[in-house]
Each structure stands twice: as structure tokens, then as C-alpha cells.
């Protein structure tokens, strides 16, 4: 991918959004490019700086998949060194404690697994619906279909949902490595439906019903359903809103929280989806964070999104630091005030 393959790349963990995103992007890019890196000032500005358990889970997963030597992989460590070897496919089990996100672990290792020498089957235990991470619904319905369209063969099954704080979620992902085709996602295409699903576990049904009622009042739903999850793994509630179009699907999830009424959960989720519906760009904020690495694997592509998020900008910075590709973000001609076109060229 680049000439300076052996020298250790130095990255400042406090740049950009300053959290775990830069770590996950760097791990993924390092595995892909084979270039070692050293990340300093990890989560420097946070109240508990350094690596937390969920970050450590990502580092360990990457070390296994990327056959890497790792320094400083400890709780609270603010600096790690990562020296990758050959990516290997196979059977992996990853565990994320403290109900940390399984999806962030997947995000870290998936690009590498798509480039591995053999198919993989991975199981990840932990949370599937976390506050500050993509939910498994989002990955399954918004992200993976686009990846499939690019030619990737990735199957994900959610065996158990895992909600904060009890965790206990379990997902299985099968990955068949193969080349990816570039993606150009500039239009949503025709609307094919707008659904609301209320997920409930060990909680009274009326919570889901009240959420669906608000969703029906705020959004032109084409379908709505309540889904009761098997009991025994701690209470959980989520309102999943799914806006489907010919070219793209957007998922917004409102997570139930102790002390937050069902109405508030639903109102917040609806507000977020309505802003997506209003701005008209096909790629929402969270999807834009996920798409750059697949585009890189495909050797190029572009998409139109709303205002670029700090996660997206962090990803761009890390990609540039690795010299992996050129990413440009510019106002889109169709709607230069609100739309931005993100293009990646290798």
C-alpha cells in the first residue's frame, strides 16, 4: 500500500475526536498496510484516560487477527505500540467486559478479515446496544447491506442482544475474504418503507407500546412492531427506526435508560431520524464513520453525507497518516449548503 512499510508510524491520540476511534482506525489500517504504529496520549482528555476494557478488547482482537506484537496493552495505558504480522482468518472468540460494544470490536477486525487468507467465523460477547457505539441493528441493516453491494460476503447473526449494564449479548459473524468493488453512493433512491420496532426484554409491554405510539405520531410509518426478547439477561429496551430507500437504509436507535421515560426515548430517536429525512443526503452521520475503510479496501469510491462528523475527520486523518489513500471532503454540487461529497482515491 505504501513504501515506508517498516518504520513505526507515530500517532497522537489526542487529535480529532480524541477517543477510541483513532485507536480502532489505526489498528485496522495497520493490519491492512502491515505498517507498525505507536499511538500516544490515548484518550488524554478523558476523566479516566488511557485504554479501558472495551479498547483493550479491540487491541487484543486486532493482535490475534493481525498476528501482531503489542506493547502497552494494559488498562489505563496511554501509549501502545502495535507491530502487525500476517493477517490470518479462522475461528475467533472475543469477549468484551463491562457490557462494552461488540460492534466496535467487529469494526476493528472486519477490514482485515476481508483481506485474510482464509474465511473466518468470529463470535463476540458483550453489548450489542451501547450508547456511544453502533448497534447491531445499525450494522446489520445499514452497514452490511452496503458492504454486500460492494461484493463482501459477511453474515452476521445476533444470537442474544446485550444491553447496558448487564451485557451478555452474543453475535456471530462469518466473513469470506474477497475483493471489493468501489461504491458511489450519491442518492438515496426511492423510499421503500419506514418501520419502527420496539425491542423489549424483561420490561413491561407498555413501554414498547408508548414508544411506538410516539413514533407513529412523529413519523409516517409504514410498519411498526413490538419484539419481546427472551428473558434472563437483564432488562433492555430499544426503539429501532428504519428508513429504507432503493440505495441505502438508515437506522436510528433510541436506547431505554433508567429514569428516562419511554416517550423521551422515542422523541429523541424520532428527532434524529427526522433530521436525516430532512437533509436528504443518503449517508447519515454514523454510516459515514463506517464507510471509509470499505472504500479503501475497494480501492476507491465516494458518498454524499451531511456535515462531516469528528469521527469521520479522525478517520480521514488516520488514513492520511498511514498514506493509505487520498480522501477529499467537499461541498456536493447538488446541495452545496448541506451536502458534502467524500471521495477516496488510492
Amino acid at each position: 500500500m505504501n513504501t515506508k512499510k517498516d518504520s513505526e508510524l507515530l500517532l497522537d491520540g489526542s487529535q480529532g475526536e480524541g477517543g477510541g476511534q483513532i485507536l480502532r482506525s489505526a489498528l485496522a489500517l495497520s493490519m491492512l498496510s502491515g505498517r507498525p504504529f505507536r499511538l500516544t496520549k490515548i484518550r488524554a482528555g478523558r476523566s479516566k484516560p488511557g485504554l479501558m476494557r472495551q479498547h483493550l478488547a479491540c487491541v487484543r482482537a486486532a493482535a490475534l487477527v493481525g498476528n501482531a506484537q503489542v506493547e502497552g496493552a494494559e488498562i489505563g495505558s496511554t501509549e501502545i505500540g502495535f507491530r502487525p504480522g500476517t493477517i490470518r482468518g479462522g475461528q475467533f472468540e472475543f469477549k468484551v467486559g463491562s457490557a462494552g460494544s461488540t460492534m466496535l470490536v467487529l469494526q476493528t477486525v472486519l477490514p482485515a478479515l476481508l483481506r485474510a487468507d482464509a474465511p473466518s467465523r468470529i463470535s463476540i460477547e458483550g453489548g450489542t446496544h451501547n450508547m456511544l457505539a453502533p448497534t447491531s441493528d445499525f450494522i446489520a441493516d445499514a452497514f452490511l447491506p452496503l458492504l454486500a453491494r460492494m461484493g463482501a460476503q459477511v453474515q452476521m447473526t445476533v444470537e442474544r442482544h446485550g444491553f447496558f449494564p448487564a451485557g451478555g449479548g452474543l453475535v456471530h459473524v462469518e466473513v469470506r475474504p474477497g475483493p471489493l468493488q468501489p461504491l458511489h453512493l450519491h442518492e438515496r433512491g426511492a423510499s421503500t418503507g419506514l418501520e419502527a420496532i420496539a425491542l423489549l426484554r424483561s420490561l413491561p409491554q407498555h413501554i414498547g407500546e408508548r414508544e411506538l405510539e410516539i413514533a407513529a405520531r412523529r413519523l409516517p410509518l409504514t410498519a411498526s412492531a413490538r419484539r419481546d426478547l427472551s428473558a434472563g439477561f437483564g432488562p433492555g429496551n430499544a426503539l429501532v427506526l428504519k428508513a429504507s430507500y432503493a440505495n441505502v437504509t438508515e437506522i436510528v436507535v433510541g436506547l431505554g435508560e433508567h429514569g428516562l421515560s419511554a416517550e423521551s426515548v422515542a422523541e429523541n430517536a424520532c428527532r434524529e431520524l427526522r433530521s436525516y429525512l430532512a437533509h436528504g443526503a443518503p449517508v447519515g452521520e454514523h454510516l459515514s464513520d463506517q464507510l471509509l475503510l470499505p472504500l479503501l479496501l475497494a480501492g476507491g469510491g465516494s458518498f454524499v453525507t451531511g456535515r462531516p462528523s469528528s469521527h469521520l475527520e479522525t478517520n480521514v486523518a488516520v488514513i492520511h497518516a498511514f498514506g493509505a489513500a487520498q480522501v477529499s471532503i467537499a461541498p456536493d454540487q447538488g446541495n452545496p449548503q448541506q451536502h458534502f461529497r467524500v471521495s477516496l482515491e488510492t
Binding site: E74, E125, P165, G167, G168, P235, H258
Partner: protein, 545 residues
């Protein structure tokens, strides 16, 4: 990944951990919380629980911990306590557990969870951990301020090895520096008697503001000790004022009272203005009166009053001045004798004689010569910004001399300081060589000349020298000591009989009759001396009068 796996050992809280149904996730359960902290990765959790009574609870905890912390292995130990509030029972049971548990501190890190179990259990955990039966740190988990789902509260790891805490360690270090070592100016003295005395002085200084009396020969370090005591007390906020040092030998005549107690304008001719006086300057501080035996009787009376009332009138004034100071007095005289001779007030002596410490001379603290040598070298370096070192042989040779009988050190630490300063100044390129040491020991020999062969270094051996001349070299050192004392008595006696009575007093009291004068004459004869000859020689030596 070099970090050692973390193992937590603790009781299951049969109250705090016992919640069932989905609502249990809304409760703070300390044992489950251990698996929930995002910055605490526990490899293994050893739970102590009475399994027969709490089978269901054990199963729930196992299940929930596997969920929140899939990477944690949970082991349950059946632990039966008939009465968990019985200290002896709990201690014995935990002690037994600690002895049988296969601790592997090389490969694992241990935490003892103290937030579950009875208070008695907590105490036992603490005691057993502090005694290192559990080679562990303590883990204290605390609930969130408000019960909220998912909030696992906070935790703290407490290491009972206090040396690991910077602030505590610093405090200990400061404490140590503040006390004994501080009083010794940081010199690591070895003499056990001296070190013990310094510890006593420190204890007295910290607890009392009564006057102190420091005895000891000149140069033994009275003044430095007084200053260090002042600094110690000031650092502890016992004293706020100044350190005032006065050598009473320099206060003679009319000026003495005025210097000490101050005067008002016109108190005597030439008293143009007011003068506060040294006692007033020391208000709130420490007054060190060195050579207090030299103070005049009038001043002694005023000083006593000033100590007792903390008030005194300045010369020529009737309005009293108040001054509250800590007094330390120093002397190399025998004050008790001065009292007998009427030269020192008995009441003042009694007042000063509460805390009396004798600072031995350098000669009596031979083992402290080396640390003091290093101290003097450092002091020289500090004052002159030049680090001087001995080469090894030179250092050995100097120390051998310094600790030998030939080195009398009449000026004590002052002599040592001067000696080091001379050598350091003469050293070329910062190295004190054997040559420099040899020159210095020869110089010291000359300086101490007359006192070199003596016992007390106070001039009596000059009498020995005078009566014996060159023959002194033929007399064993063993005999010289005795002879020296005999001559001293002879010199002071009115007659041979008088001298004999003094010399043989103890045996005289036991026997009915004796001829002490004859016994003395026979003794002197052995050295070829006559009583009259000794008295004549003594008269010719002015220093003995």
C-alpha cells in the same frame, strides 16, 4: 502483555449482592460491580460463600458475572461461618483460607474485596492483608450516589504498603528529616549514645518549651544544635519568632544588661535612644545564651525573672516589657561548682537544670568522625561551590589519625571543620592526597603541641613536661596518666601531707592510721621527683594558677 492477571478475593454479600429478578440490575451489587468497571479487568474472582444456604445466590452471581464480564473466571469457595460477627471465628477462618490458598505473586496480582461481609470480616481482611497473609491490596467498591441502572459506582484500590503513597512517604521522610536527622544537620552519626541523646532532645523539643541546658566542651556543636532545634520548632509552627544567639562571654560590664534587656532613653549616659534588647528580639522565638556561666550575677537575676514571668523591665525603665521565648543555655563550665563558689545563682541553675544534655567532644565520639568529615566536605562544597574529595588512601590515613589517641581534638568539631577547610583549600584539582593529609596531621600535631600527650588536654601535662623534661619519653603512657593527676594535686596542695590526704582519701577512711605523705614521696621517687620540686615547677607555669 506483561501485566499480571488480576485476582479478586471476597465474600459474597448476602445482603447487598442478594437481589433477584430483572430488577436486580437496578440495584448496586458490589460483587457484580467488580465485573462492570470499564477500567478494572479481573481475570479471576474467588468468592467466599456458605454454599448450602446460598446456592441460588451463587448461581445468579455466576450467571450475571459471566454476562457483564465474560473474561472473568468465577470460583466459589464454600465458606461456613457459624457467626460472621465473631471476631475470633472469622479471623481464624480467613487465616486458614489464606494459608491454604495457592498464592502465586510472581504471576498474579491480588485484591481483597472489603465492601462485602460484616464489619468484623472487614477488620479481619485488613489485619490479615496488612500482615501479608494475603499478599494483596484492598479493593473497596462504593455504590453510586443515586441508584441508577447500570451505574456500578466507583472503586478504589488501597495498598497498605504506605511507602507506595507519594504524599504519605514524603510526610514520613519529612518527619524523619524534621526530627533526629535534622537535629544532627543531616549527619548520619553512628555513636549510639549520641543518637539516643538526640532522640531524647527531639522528644523534649517537640513536647516542651521549658529551658534546656546544653553542656559540653567548646566546639562540640551546642550552637548548631540550638539553631537546628529552632528550625525544627519553627517548621512545626511551635515558634514564630527569630533565632537569637548570644555568647555571654562577650557581654561584660555595663553594656551586658542593656544588650540583653534593652534600655529606655536616658537610662544611662550615652543612652541616646531606646534599645529593645536581645530578649525582646527573641520574643516568640528562641534565645540561645552560650557560655551562660560567664553571665554576671545581676543579669542572672533579671534573666530568671524574665524566664519565669515572661516580663522584665528594661534598664532605666519601669514599664515592663513582655517577651515569650524558648531559652537554650550552653556552657562548658561546671555550673554546679559555680553555684558552690557563688558565681552562679542557684535558683537560675535549678530553673535551667530541668533538661540538661551533655554533648560529648569529638574524642568521645570517634565513630562519628567519618560522617562529620563528609559533612564538612559538603559544607565546604556548598560554601565554595567546589566539590573536594579524598583519594582513598588519603582518606584512610586521615581517619586513622583522627581516631588515634594522638588526635586530641581540643577544639572538637570546630577543629575538624578548620582542618577540612585547610585540606580542601590546599587540595589541587579537587583531590586531597596523602601528601596534603600528612602535612595536615603534622600541622595539627604542632597546633595541639602541648596538649598532645595529655589526657584532658588542659595543660596539666605541661607540668609533667616541666618536671621531667626529656625523661618523659621513658615513661609508659600507662604511668603518665596517673603521674599527671598526682602532680596536679601536688601543685594545688599546701603541703605533701595535704596532697597525700587528698590522694589517698578513700583508703584513709577505711584504715586507722597511715602515712599518706610518705606514700606520696615514695611514689614520686620512682620517677626521680621530689614534692618541693613539683611545687616549684608548678609555680613557674603561670597557666596552672
Amino acid at each position: 502483555m506483561q501485566i499480571k492477571p488480576l485476582v479478586v478475593i471476597g465474600f459474597v454479600g448476602t445482603v447487598l449482592d442478594a437481589a433477584t429478578g430483572p430488577a436486580r440490575w437496578e440495584r448496586w451489587r458490589p460483587t457484580v460491580a467488580i465485573g462492570m468497571y470499564e477500567d478494572l479487568a479481573v481475570a479471576r474472582l474467588e468468592l467466599l460463600l456458605d454454599e448450602r444456604r446460598f446456592t441460588k445466590l451463587a448461581a445468579t452471581l455466576r450467571h450475571d458475572l459471566a454476562q457483564v464480564s465474560p473474561e472473568t473466571q468465577v470460583q466459589i469457595h464454600d465458606f461456613h461461618l457459624a457467626d460472621p460477627w465473631d471476631f475470633e471465628q472469622v479471623f481464624a477462618a480467613l487465616h486458614e483460607f489464606a494459608r491454604s490458598y495457592p498464592f502465586d505473586v510472581e504471576r498474579e496480582d491480588y485484591l481483597v474485596h472489603i465492601s462485602t461481609g460484616t464489619h468484623v470480616a472487614q477488620i479481619c481482611w485488613f489485619l490479615l492483608t496488612e500482615a501479608r497473609f494475603f499478599p494483596a491490596r484492598l479493593l473497596q467498591t462504593s455504590p453510586p450516589p443515586k441508584q441508577r441502572t447500570g451505574d456500578c459506582g466507583s472503586y478504589a484500590v488501597i495498598d497498605l504498603d504506605l511507602a507506595r503513597y507519594d504524599r504519605i512517604a514524603q510526610r514520613f521522610a519529612r518527619e524523619r528529616a524534621d526530627t533526629a536527622s535534622f537535629l544532627k544537620s543531616g549527619i548520619a552519626t553512628l555513636s549510639p549514645a549520641f543518637n539516643r541523646m538526640i532522640e531524647q532532645i527531639e522528644r523534649v523539643a517537640v513536647r516542651s518549651r521549658a529551658p534546656m541546658l546544653l553542656l559540653g566542651p567548646t566546639g562540640a556543636g551546642k550552637s548548631m544544635l540550638a539553631r537546628n532545634l529552632f528550625e525544627l520548632k519553627r517548621s512545626r509552627h511551635d515558634l514564630k519568632g527569630r533565632f537569637v544567639e548570644v555568647n555571654c562571654a562577650t557581654l561584660r560590664g555595663d553594656g551586658a544588661g542593656s544588650a540583653l534587656f534593652g534600655h529606655v532613653r536616658g537610662a544611662f549616659t550615652g543612652a541616646q535612644g531606646e534599645r529593645a534588647g536581645l530578649l525582646k528580639s527573641a520574643d516568640g522565638g528562641l534565645l540561645f545564651l552560650d557560655e551562660i556561666g560567664e553571665l554576671g550575677l545581676d543579669e542572672q537575676a533579671m534573666l530568671l525573672r524574665a524566664i519565669e514571668d515572661k516580663r522584665f523591665p528594661p534598664l532605666g525603665g519601669d514599664r515592663e516589657v513582655s517577651s515569650d521565648f524558648q531559652l537554650i543555655a550552653g556552657t562548658n563550665r561546671d555550673l554546679a561548682e559555680a553555684v558552690l563558689q557563688g558565681r552562679f545563682r542557684e535558683d537560675l541553675y535549678a530553673r535551667l537544670n530541668l533538661w540538661t544534655f551533655y554533648l560529648p567532644g569529638l574524642k568521645e565520639r570517634a565513630e562519628d568522625i567519618e560522617p562529620n568529615l563528609d559533612f564538612e566536605l559538603e559544607r565546604f562544597a556548598r560554601l565554595n561551590s567546589e566539590r573536594i574529595t579524598f583519594n582513598r588512601e588519603a582518606r584512610e590515613r586521615y581517619l586513622r589519625f583522627a581516631m588515634s589517641v594522638d588526635a586530641t581534638w581540643p577544639g572538637n568539631f570546630r577543629d575538624l571543620g578548620a582542618s577540612v577547610t585547610r585540606m580542601a583549600t590546599l587540595a589541587s584539582q579537587g583531590r586531597i592526597t596523602v601528601e596534603v593529609v600528612d602535612e595536615e596531621t603534622a600541622r595539627l600535631g604542632r597546633l595541639w603541641g602541648h596538649s598532645r600527650r595529655g589526657v584532658a588536654g588542659n595543660g596539666h601535662d605541661s607540668l609533667l613536661q616541666a618536671v621531667l623534661g626529656d625523661a618523659i619519653g621513658e615513661i609508659d603512657r600507662f604511668d603518665r596518666v596517673q603521674l599527671c593527676e598526682v602532680l596536679r594535686v601536688c601543685a594545688a596542695a599546701r603541703s605533701a601531707s595535704d596532697a597525700g590526704r587528698t590522694l589517698f582519701q578513700a583508703s584513709r577512711e577505711k584504715r586507722t592510721s597511715s602515712n599518706d605523705a610518705d606514700r606520696l614521696r615514695k611514689y614520686l621517687k620512682r620517677f626521680g621527683l621530689e614534692f618541693a620540686q613539683v611545687q616549684a615547677a608548678a609555680k613557674a607555669l603561670p597557666s596552672l594558677k
